[in-house]
Symmetry: C2
Subunit: 222 residues, 2 copies
DNA sequence: ATTCATAGGATTGTCTACAATCTTTGTGAG
DNA sequence: CTCACAAAGATTGTAGACAATCCTATGAAT
């Protein structure tokens, strides 16, 4: 089989999760030598891993000066969300038209699971976030547009996740988000593309509002 | 100053234009050794150039097997246009809200130039295409969203250009496109965001239709 | 004390060589 | 003649060293 996981690939995924989880913080330097000491191997694979991180906009590289974990300004975060709103509401519209009935049934199952986890109040912040991403992920997959999937899940999501990990989750938000998810699935099930698009647009917009207030709070506290 | 153009960067831009212009055709192999013989230097910079081409989806790389120029299926091309329609109409909406009056005036100037070049019938296909891209480029810039600019101009446009270079330009399309551009600018100047968005959506949609019929013709001829 | 220049160290860019993997060509069996 | 298999060749992945560039700290001049 083609089980060829190159070392560069391994380091790349390791670094990706490290950045997303906040173990590597925005602005942190990524020296090739340091990575060699940390992950073993030679500089060549580390270099490749860094380049791939740059391709996903997780690090910024300047010639002869090295790479640093990206540090997004609030304006840039807004830009990202502005694009994400547009693309995900589009995905939701397409999903309403193209998802199979089986996929929609699975969406309902997923929401039931989330409901239970919230009711049990075991709704750990981490699980909530993962579950939320899972929901969005499936809708995007349902759009049946590979490029759309690439852009949202391959390029924008890591950045979004990176900032969500670092902000504490409100206790009020999850139940509300779940409700919004339920309405969206209903619209998809009804094959009402326009409504599904509108609801998703509002959902992400309010998600951004939530994130902004939270960032403002942390900014004020520090 | 920071005039540091690394060799990898140089080769990367060279290859980009070569691919976009069709000198390197879809499916063509890109061996590191071949690039060394062609551009000089060593394998390391060639490798980096190839990786950056992969990041822009211009080549596809499989581990231990090398890189080939991407060959898009008609379905993938439709996916790209589906996304492009959404993002560019969004950009147009934002441009109507955010462009300065000076920028709008420059747009009018640009359209006048295009008009003249068409009237003079010197309207070479190449110039037409470049001019068209220039128009779209300015509207996107006018959206004031850096991420949107990155996605459209940095990732999607090369692919679009690649396929446009390879399809001959219709003699009927340029005048029609110019008219559509004029209507769009009028909407932007009137700060009518909704109309501007709608017109851009239709414009790109008809551009896709034009491309599809042309591809179908060439398919039938071969 | 502040600012500028400079020298040293550290880091990245590039080169060459070697190991691991894939592709292709040639051979033989069915 | 076609297909499967194996060895040779070619290509990529990795390693280590050297060269070019940048960052930093030290010192001198204002």
């Amino acid at each position: 089989m083609n089980e060829s996981l190159t070392l560069a690939d391994k380091v790349f995924t390791e670094l990706t999760t490290a950045i997303v989880r906040g173990e590597l913080r925005p602005g942190d330097r990524l020296s090739e030598q340091t990575l060699v000491e940390r992950y073993g191997g030679s500089r060549a694979p580390m270099r490749e891993a860094i380049q791939r991180l740059e391709a996903r906009h997780l690090v910024k590289r300047v010639p002869h000066a090295g790479a640093r974990v990206v540090s997004l300004s609030l304006a840039e975060l807004r830009d990202i969300y502005e694009v994400r709103v547009e693309l995900e509401s589009m995905a939701c519209r397409l999903a309403a038209q193209r998802m199979t009935d089986a996929e929609i049934a699975e969406l309902y199952d997923l929401l039931r699971e989330h409901e239970e986890s919230i009711a049990a109040e075991q709704g750990l912040a981490y699980y909530q976030k993962a579950g939320d991403l899972d929901f969005h992920y499936r809708v995007i997959k349902g759009s049946r547009n590979s490029r759309l999937y690439q852009m949202l899940c391959g390029e924008l999501y890591h950045l979004v996740r990176m900032y969500r990990y670092q902000t504490s989750t409100s206790t009020k938000r999850p139940p509300q988000a779940l409700q919004e998810h339920q309405r969206i699935v209903e619209a998809i099930a009804a094959r009402d593309a326009e409504l599904a698009e509108l609801l998703m647009r509002r959902h992400i917009q309010s998600s951004l509002n939530n994130l902004e207030t939270r960032l403002a709070e942390e900014e004020g506290r520090s």
